[in-house]
Structure formats: structure tokens, C-alpha cells
Symmetry: C2
Subunit: 346 residues, 2 copies
């Protein structure tokens, strides 16, 4: 089968690999329909973080179940499914509490290889999310919407859920990448009345507005804080979504919230230590982490996509065949694409 | 009037001072009935934190309104009131959101001087909490219960509220001081089913159990983490109350929670920087800060005391006349008292 391979920093290519096989009774083999490139893939692509050379890549896809292990009964061959990047078992304390992104049932190794024709998916019984019908029942746009439910839309929603956005809230969203843009959708789903998007790129500002942003703040740092306070009559935001992870973004996120607000963060933090006394003296909360993909898809997001309430697939501004995976990465690396779609089959 | 004065580290005494007067239209003058010593008072008493020499002290009291400024209409002379350590205006964004401990309407200076016969109380119109009847209508125990609503009980409740304790939860409470003990009461009020108190002092363990603790863990650090995981079948707690503020206590608090749980902290953090990546990768939340005393008293706590549902006044294990303020501080400093009561009048 064809599969995306990380050769070395800056070099990714499609190679021929053996088709994966069921190894555990909880596995499923999926025939991938569509996959995509994540902003977090750029870290190792750019050589900022380490990754094993000549390893398979990708962690977002939709596909068709081809075969299942003996303990997989919730899905069967032929089912059309979302393949989340998370692999919740569905029965540990974390999964039961709705935090399947931190499933406590350990799987055997890092989970990757979604940018390929076939994928061995672990903990398939609970983690996979069944989509009604077959790929051909959906429009091209709908397939893209469904694909975002493997990670980016669920992650944006997690930022909003972690920030505990509620009806009528004024919300600030830090970051205008695909996750931040999906955070806007998430905030709106949770009832936000006013959504202030921190964005300085015209194409992303436009998408932010189409997703529900009511105000755009292009400033950064102290100027951004001043602007948000001005927009909120000095009060600050009721909830803040942090979808970047840089020190400056987290710092700004903490400062734009009113006392008692929560920063819901999904941007992987680049700095380990942070001054949490700023949080304490203003009762600012800090929540977030890895999204609960299966929980959110089943509970809210799949229905919202199927009913056409949300259109997160618009974050895919460029599409590529799996053979051209190198171009897909390069387009994101050069910021020519907000997010690159990989058409694998169908 | 008699008033407690911080002379220098280790030296506190009762001196004669002029009676305070109304200075702002939002002031009230209170005749103090009972006051008390806070664990946080020990910092400057011990010379760990700085405080202006020869300054008035104390931030918890109940008393009778003696006079009010022209803008104070919610209370009138003769009213029996709780004098919270917080001074919410009631109309800023923070107060409206229920975070009056972070009121955004600035008062003119640090608020102290509750350990005295009279007190000038700022933002009196909204912040003071009226108690039905007069002091003589209450038993000695009830007066002590009411006094805790000026700070310690509200602060313990804030830890539980910040940790978002909900019905049926398993909760860990870090700290067996007066605040931690009130945290147990707060967790129970919010529906906790199981309350694991971290305590190594027999008298405090006993009080913890009488307040609702179901399990006692005397271990600290890694041993404490192991014990909590053992008690919760490896899951960890649904919510954690951090009522100490030391680096070790915060570290343990983060480790004993299950993924997705929140550490509600009210222990003033001793260290500024902390590793928040531990939080991120397990979706552990961090909330808390200064308690919303007026909000909690009016919403939940005053009724709970008046109905005899809670008895937080038990944290006062020694009582002193205002003249013997030095002994009141010494008793807490030497851990001979969990919390020292000061009988001022009545």
C-alpha cells in the first residue's frame, strides 16, 4: 500500500509498504478515504521536535472498516467511520468521565500512520465513530466536514468546552490556525454571543467571521490585551480559548479574561514553566489538553455536521492526492494552505 | 478603642487607638463582636512576609453596624453583620460573575483592622452580609459558625467550588488547617460522596471526620499519591482541593486527580513558577484564588449555618479576649490551636 513516510526533517514522501494486519483482538483495519495534515505535524517536519526517521505519519482520517479483531463488535467490515487520533477504551475512569483523550488503558505504542491507504486502528471497539451510510452518500464538502471530526474540530471544541463557554458569553479565541478557527465554531455551538478572534491574516479573518467571529483583533501582546479590554468595557472575556501554545499567546490569554474566567488551552505548550500566581490573584482558571474526540463526536459534533449546522471542512484550503504528500506538507509549511487535505480513495 | 497592632515580627499587642470614622459615602463603621486569627496572619507574624510595622491587623469579624455613609442603604445602624475580608462592589463584571473576591472597583488601600473594637468597612453596601436578629439570639457555637463566614468557611467552599465538586464525586482535600477542614464541609455541601482528607494530626483527623471526611491519608508526597490511587482503584480523584500552597502540596494535588479533574486551590501559592505541562497532558484543570465571600455567604453558607447543617465554628479550638491577642497568635504559631477566636464584645 501507499503510505506517507517521514524520511528526515523537511523530507516526506509516499512509499510502498506492506498492508497492516490485525495484531490485537481490539484492532480494526481501515481503508482510508481521506486524511489530512495537522499543524502539529509541522514540528517534526520542520525539525523543531524529534521524530523517528523513516516512520509512518498522520493521525486524522475517515475510512471504511475492512476487518476487525475478535473483541470488536460495535463496528463491522463495510462501516464508514471517523478514525480519531485518540483511542479511548470506553471503560476506564478517564473515558467514563468524558476524557477519552487521556484514556488510562495503555495501547502498545505511538499511534500514527493515518496518511496511508490502510491503517491498523487500536481500541477500535469504542474509539471509532460510525458515520451513517457510505462515502458516496455525502458531498465533497460533507466528507471534509466529517474528516475534521478526527481531530481538528474536536480539538477546537475541546478548547471551548475546557474554557466552559456558556450561553451568552463573550469569548476570545487565540490563534487563527485550523484549530483556532474550529474553536470559534465550538464556542458558537456552546452559545457564545460575542466571539473575538485574534487574527492578522485576511483569509483567516474571513473564515473566522463565516464561522461566527463577531470581532477581529489583529494586535498581539499588550496591544491585544488593551484592545480586548476596550471591546469589553474593561471587563475582559468570560472565556478564553488558547489554540497556539506559545508563551506570548498563553500570557495574553490569561490577561484578556475577566476574574473567574477560564483559559481553555489546546495549543501544545511550548514552555514548561509558567507563572501561575497571575492566575491565582485573578481567579483565572487553566484547563485543557488532549481533546475527547470520540466523546465529542458522538455527543455533539457528528450530529452538527450531519445536520449541516457547522462547516469545519472549510479549513481545508488545499487538496492533494496521497502521492503528492510532500506538496501537502509544503503548502502548510509555507502558510499557503490553512490545512491540507489528502484524498486517498473514493 | 482597643486594637490589635503588629509591632514587629513575633510581637503583636493590643493598643489604644482613635475610633475610626466614616471617610467615604460607601463606608460603614462596625462595632466588632468577634474576630479571629487567620493562618495567613502567621506569615508576617513569623517574619516570612513583610508587613508595615505598627499597623492594624485582622480581616475576619462579625459585628454590629454603628453608622453608615450616605450611599449605604442595604444595611443600617443596629444590623448584625458578617464582615467579609473581601469588599465587592456588587456591580462590576467580576462581582456580577460571582467573583467578588476580585472586585474590579478599587478601594483606597489595604483592608485590615478587624481585630479591634471598631472597624471602618469599605464598599459596605453590597459586601456586608446581614445576619437575622442580634448576637444575643445565637448560641456561642452559632456565633462561631457565623464568624467563619467572614473568610475561612467561604475560602474552604471556594476550593470546592473551584474544583467543581459535584454530586457523587470522590474528592481529595490537601491540608488539615482550618481552611482545609472547611474545604471538607464545602465538598460535602456540593455533594461529594467520598472525601479523602490528607492529615497527619490526630485532633485534625477527628475534626475532618466530623465534617464529612470518609478516609484519612497521613502520607505525603509520592506515598500520598500511591495511597490515593490505591483508594480509588487507580482512577484518582474527581476533584482536588488544595488548601496549603506549598510546592509539594500543589504537586501532589495535581498527581492525585484523574484525567479531566480540577485542582481548586485557595492556599496562597508560595512558588511563582510551576510546570503546567503536567496539567496539559492529563487534562488537569487549575482554578481558584481569593474566595467570593459575599456571594457564597448569601447564596449557600449563611443558610447552611442558620439551619444548623454545617458547624465550621468547630475550627476555633482556643478563645481569647482581645486584650490577650498575643496569646491568640502564639497558640496558632505553636499549633496549639487550629484557629484562635478573639472575643471582642458581647
Amino acid at each position: 500500500m501507499k503510505a506517507g513516510i517521514f524520511v528526515e526533517a523537511g523530507k516526506i514522501e509516499t512509499q510502498d509498504l506492506p498492508k497492516p494486519e490485525i495484531k490485537a483482538p481490539t484492532d480494526a483495519i481501515l481503508k482510508i478515504v481521506r486524511a489530512c495534515v495537522c499543524g502539529s505535524d509541522l514540528w517534526w517536519y520542520r525539525g523543531i521536535s524529534k521524530r523517528q526517521l523513516n516512520s509512518q505519519v498522520g493521525h486524522e482520517a475517515i475510512g471504511i472498516v475492512e476487518s476487525v479483531g475478535s473483541q470488536v463488535t460495535n463496528v463491522k467490515p463495510g462501516d464508514f467511520v471517523i478514525a480519531p487520533f485518540t483511542h479511548g477504551c470506553g471503560h476506564c475512569a478517564a473515558c467514563l468521565a468524558g476524557f477519552d483523550g487521556d484514556c488510562m488503558t495503555k495501547t502498545d505504542s505511538e499511534i500514527v500512520g493515518y496518511q496511508a491507504e490502510y491503517l491498523r486502528f487500536k481500541n477500535a471497539n469504542w474509539a471509532l465513530v460510525k458515520i451513517p451510510g457510505q462515502p458516496e452518500d455525502y458531498s465533497d464538502e460533507q466528507l471534509n466536514d466529517l474528516l475534521t471530526l478526527a481531530d481538528v474540530m474536536a480539538t477546537g471544541y475541546h478548547a471551548a468546552a475546557s474554557a466552559e463557554v456558556k450561553d451568552g458569553d463573550t469569548v476570545v479565541v487565540m490563534g487563527d490556525g485550523a484549530v483556532g478557527l474550529c474553536g470559534i465554531i465550538g464556542a458558537k455551538l456552546l452559545g457564545a454571543k460575542r466571539i473575538i478572534a485574534m487574527s492578522r491574516h485576511e483569509d483567516r479573518q474571513k473564515l473566522a467571521k463565516s464561522f461566527g467571529a463577531t470581532d477581529i483583533v489583529p494586535e498581539r501582546g499588550d496591544a491585544a490585551v488593551a484592545r480586548v479590554l476596550e471591546l469589553t468595557n474593561g471587563a475582559g472575556a468570560d472565556a478564553v480559548l488558547e489554540c497556539v501554545g506559545t508563551e506570548q499567546s498563553i500570557d495574553t490569554a490569561v490577561k484578556v479574561g475577566r476574574p473567574g474566567s477560564i483559559v481553555g488551552r489546546v495549543g501544545v505548550p511550548q514552555k514548561t514553566e509558567m507563572d501561575t500566581n497571575d492566575l491565582f490573584w485573578r481567579n483565572i482558571g487553566l484547563r485543557g489538553g488532549i481533546a475527547s474526540v470520540t466523546t465529542y463526536d458522538r455527543g455533539v459534533l457528528l450530529d452538527a455536521v450531519l445536520q449541516g449546522k457547522i462547516h469545519p471542512g472549510k479549513v481545508f484550503t488545499k487538496r492533494f492526492d496521497l502521492d503528492l504528500i510532500e506538496d501537502a506538507y509544503a503548502a502548510m509549511d509555507k502558510r499557503e494552505a490553512i490545512k491540507s487535505l489528502l484524498v486517498v480513495s473514493a
